[in-house]
């Protein structure tokens, strides 16, 4: 069980953070390619969010209007992508920031790990007065805490 990498994409599709935790799991690509990857994924994610087999928003609203006006969850789009060699989990926050976690296919508890990563992001990035929203994340504490957490996970 190994976590390979983490990517964070802001709500405009820009890459704001990327880090590899394990050499050899994924092909090495340049920072430029990471930027392209983030932009591409952002587009694909937007498309998958519209491909909702349960029908579009309107019918949802009509059918649920009788049940005390509970709003259905908006379609979330792509969540997991699995291949022979890796598994990619995508988590979208309420504010539209996307966390992509790459792990090997046997990794368990990805949801919990994702939750913890998000928690660290809110703690060490959002509470940092020197971080500007939507800009690349350069926070020592976030790096350090994330690395030690993932290292602990990988060594299990």
């Amino acid at each position: 069980m190994t976590i390979f990498a983490l990517i964070i994409i802001n709500k405009a599709g820009g890459l704001i953070y990327h880090r590899t935790f394990h050499e050899g799991g994924l092909q090495k690509i340049s920072t430029n390619d990471y930027l392209v990857l983030a932009g591409t994924f952002h587009g694909v994610h937007a498309i998958t969010a519209r491909l909702n087999p349960l029908g579009n928003h309107n019918t949802n609203r009509l059918s649920s209007s009788s049940s005390a006006g509970i709003r259905p969850d908006p379609p979330s789009g792509l969540e997991v992508l699995e291949s022979e060699n890796f598994r990619m989990q995508c988590f979208t926050t309420m504010t539209g920031i996307k966390f992509l976690l790459f792990s090997d296919t046997t990794q368990t508890n990805v949801d919990i790990i994702m939750r913890r990563v998000y928690e660290m992001y809110t703690d060490y990035v959002m509470k940092n007065p020197f971080y500007q929203l939507e800009m690349p994340v350069r926070c020592d504490l976030f790096d350090r805490k994330l690395l030690s957490y993932i290292r602990e996970m990988n060594s299990r």
Binding site: D123, K127, N128, P129, F130, R138, C139, D140, L141, R144
Partner: protein
């Protein structure tokens, strides 16, 4: 107080509370919420924060997250229109100073009556800061207290905190590496020293990341530099 009408202010002049006319004075009875349309509003029973017992909030705790967001905004606020890191630290220091002045009184009044006197020499003052002030602000004592080993600077003392609470979520960018946001806490310490009539300059320095600092990357030294007259007085007391 300028928002109060002249008539209202004059009603309380003959009364006892000239300082807080709106609380004690006008309404007399219960429903005296300020109707003058001013910015300040008082609860209808006239009880303000000044009426609460001083010891009630002694053991209560605050959310660290809300403090982190507040402090983050305070740093951003101090950062506006400053030209350098020193000026930024100076502003954070100034934000903390009045807190220290007030905390000295509050913490002393909460002491048992026998030990309610203010600290009279440097060592008791520094212990008061290390133990009482730190316990009140951060829920634990400061990690170490040291006197400068340099013979040329006998007026310098160091209070050491391995991981200051105010810096818990703050990563300082590389181009501002000299900055330590604990300058705010340094301001509080300075306020306590000034309030106890031990005028001093207090600055915060990061020492983590060096030789033994690996274990505590956020380790901070608060350098307390007393004014010469403090040492002079201390020497006289020692002789007496």
């Amino acid at each position: 107080m300028s928002h109060l009408g002249p008539g209202k202010a004059s009603t309380s002049v003959n009364g006892k509370d000239q300082i807080l006319p709106a609380i004690g004075g006008p309404g007399g009875g219960g429903g005296s919420s300020s109707s003058s349309g001013g910015a300040l509003r008082y609860p209808s029973n006239g009880k303000t924060i000044y009426h609460r017992p001083l010891n009630r909030s002694k053991t209560s705790e605050l959310s660290q997250a809300s403090f982190a967001y507040l402090f983050s905004e305070m740093v951003s606020y101090a950062q506006r229109r400053v030209t350098g890191i020193q000026e930024l630290e100076k502003r954070l220091n100034l934000q903390g100073h009045p807190i220290g002045l007030k905390l000295l009184d509050l913490l002393l009044i909460r002491e048992p009556p026998r030990s309610q006197t203010r600290p009279l020499n440097i060592i008791t003052l520094l212990h008061f800061i290390k133990i009482n002030l730190w316990m009140h602000l951060f829920g634990r004592q400061a990690d170490r207290l040291e006197k400068s080993s340099d013979a040329a600077t006998p007026d310098e003392y160091m209070i050491i905190d391995n991981e200051p609470l105010v810096n818990a979520y703050i990563s300082v960018p590389k181009e501002m590496s000299q900055l330590n946001c604990a300058a705010f806490v340094a301001g509080i310490i300075e306020g306590v020293c000034d309030g106890a009539v031990f005028p001093a300059r207090v600055t915060a320095h990061s020492v983590g990341g060096k030789e033994e600092g690996e274990m505590w990357p956020g380790k901070t030294v608060f350098l307390v530099k007393f004014q010469p007259e403090v040492l002079e007085r201390e020497a006289l007391i020692g002789k007496g």
